[in-house]
Assembly symmetry: C2
Homo-oligomer: 343 residues x 2
């Protein structure tokens, strides 16, 4: 935001004007949505309180979107496929939000810039909202905050929400608690990697799209498809009644894009009809409740005056091996709960 815009921006936030933000989100004001997401991602206590007030109101709207996780290794063609799938979704009269996540490594921390540029055609469409989300140290790009961002996008009325993650295992497990469908992208010829990490990710995938299945790759893609189908046959079923399919796709020729969408839409419709969607939403809320609970508990603990006062001395005793980490932790918890003396 440039300097001359700041006063207007500030005014909107003043006095915790939660109503205005919520109204803005519901009226499709993208700037308001983006600000609410920034608030959600903030680490500051006063921002968090306001973010929760906004989320409370947003949840009351009870809007529900088709939530899709899109995962795959770097280079698997995630952004290209998201663009193609996005166009397909728009062509069916639907709107979509893309939570684009940048691969970030623990030490060098990837940049979150450039995500919009990666999907520039889609970014130009008024039916699509693209948001690069900060992964703040979480491996693979998804954090508990991603769930809250999904809720904001739902309140904004988007029909479909695509959550991009990097296939590192942990992030897929996290995203699996928030979405309805996980689409795993694989490159042609990667069938021999079906062990370890990839296998773990395959277990939580609802469908696999083999990307870049065009030109010279077509032959290899067909072989890979058979390999993945065989592998899915062996792996335990994720949903007892849903068959996991493997699609050959190409963002260049458009191969398979429509089929992928139809599979997702049909699966969602089925879930809605047989009640598993409602069940899934309850599970997702329960998971969010526990995540928020544990985050709040930690904050409450670390910011408690008695803990803050006693922690440095106890920490020093632990670090100098005068006290074990177990006894030190116990002491601090007793102090927190008021049953221990500070010194």
């Amino acid at each position: 935001m440039s300097a001359h815009q700041e006063p207007a921006g500030r005014k909107k936030w003043r006095d915790g004007d939660v109503d205005a933000v919520v109204r803005g989100i519901m009226e499709g004001d993208r700037q308001m949505l983006s600000r609410a997401i920034t608030l959600v991602e903030s680490q500051k206590a006063e921002h968090e309180e306001r973010a929760h007030a906004i989320l409370d109101r947003c949840l009351a709207t009870k809007h529900s979107a088709i939530r899709i996780g899109i995962t795959g290794s770097p280079g698997a063609g995630k952004s290209t496929l998201i663009e193609a799938l996005g166009e397909e979704i728009i062509s069916r009269g639907l709107t979509l939000a893309v939570l684009a996540i940048d691969p970030s490594s623990r030490q060098s921390r990837g940049s979150i810039l450039g995500d919009k540029a990666r999907m520039e055609k889609l970014a130009a469409r008024k039916e699509a909202y693209i948001r690069p989300t900060a992964s703040s140290g979480y491996l693979g790009g998804t954090s508990p905050k991603t769930h809250e961002t999904i809720l904001l996008c739902e309140a904004a009325g988007y029909d479909v929400i695509l959550v991009e993650t990097v296939g590192v295992g942990q992030s897929e497990v996290v995203v699996d608690t928030m979405v309805d469908f996980i689409l795993l992208l694989m490159l042609p010829g990667s069938g021999d990697e079906l062990q370890g990490i990839k296998r773990g990710i395959m277990e939580i995938a609802d469908a696999i799209a083999i990307t870049k299945s065009d030109g010279q790759q077509s032959g290899i893609s067909t072989i890979s498809k058979a390999e993945f189908e065989a592998a899915l046959h062996i792996l335990p079923a994720k949903h007892p009644n849903r068959k996991r399919k493997v699609f050959l796709t190409s963002a260049i020729t458009g191969l398979g894009i429509s089929e992928v969408w139809q599979d997702i839409a049909a699966g969602f419709e089925e879930m809605r009809k047989n009640g598993t969607l409602e069940e899934r939403r309850r599970e997702q809320l329960n998971h969010l409740l526990n995540t928020v609970l544990e985050e709040m508990l930690k904050k409450e603990f670390y910011s408690h005056p008695r803990v803050a006062e006693a922690k440095p001395a106890i920490e020093e005793q632990v670090l100098s091996s005068a006290l074990s980490p177990f006894s030190g932790a116990k002491k601090l918890i007793e102090i927190f709960l008021g049953s221990g003396l500070v010194f």
Copy 2:
């Protein structure tokens, strides 16, 4: 343990005979060490308390071992290299403990059996102690309990501790908080995978060993070595003064095994001399303190009578969308801290 041995075993545990266990561990009684590890890995509250009492005493021994994390994808030859490295370590008059970890996927849960069989030559040596550790749902095999197991093995007097992990990213980040050195194993010809996950793991590696560098693979290995060296040159330095090396190794011909050990031993000696080892031990203890603290806090919360009483109703309000997860969490925390009414 067969039935007729049970009474004796039981007797040892009766009345929380922590002294006997600690004495056993320090005298090199492997059965006692194994039992203490089982206690550490247990989820039961009474076991945890006893485990902490044992750990308190073990920490007081202030034994310090060379702690090495060995990581690599499934199939990279981890167990074979650990066997060869273990023989090298023993040949230098040292003892070692191996915390062998089985790859486990989230849904199908890998078996922990077979780990001993994987390193059967080493398992037959009296200088080596091999323990397959339960990963209990943690991706990649390491859990906070691994740190406590390392402390027990140190108290048992082992000179070297090898912690095996599967290269899935998250587990390496966890193990990096517990060990002094991380050795990354790569197969010849895997240089083209230098992105995404592998890159993240490379950033926390202190050295790379290219395994299976023998026979027909020798040529490819040499190329891979140059590729990895170039990659390490670009990646940010982990320790400002330590040069990360790439080794060609073969468990069959013995190539590079001695060199890998010398690099680790020299690095450790250097750390000991310049004070970074002491600094590292403090960081490790601090990390353990925080991990234990947060685990205890959660347990204290969930087992609190007022929380246990109020949680089902609040949970149901959240799941039926009558209350948001944020308001629900806040209410429960207030109840826990005694400032909220139960209903």
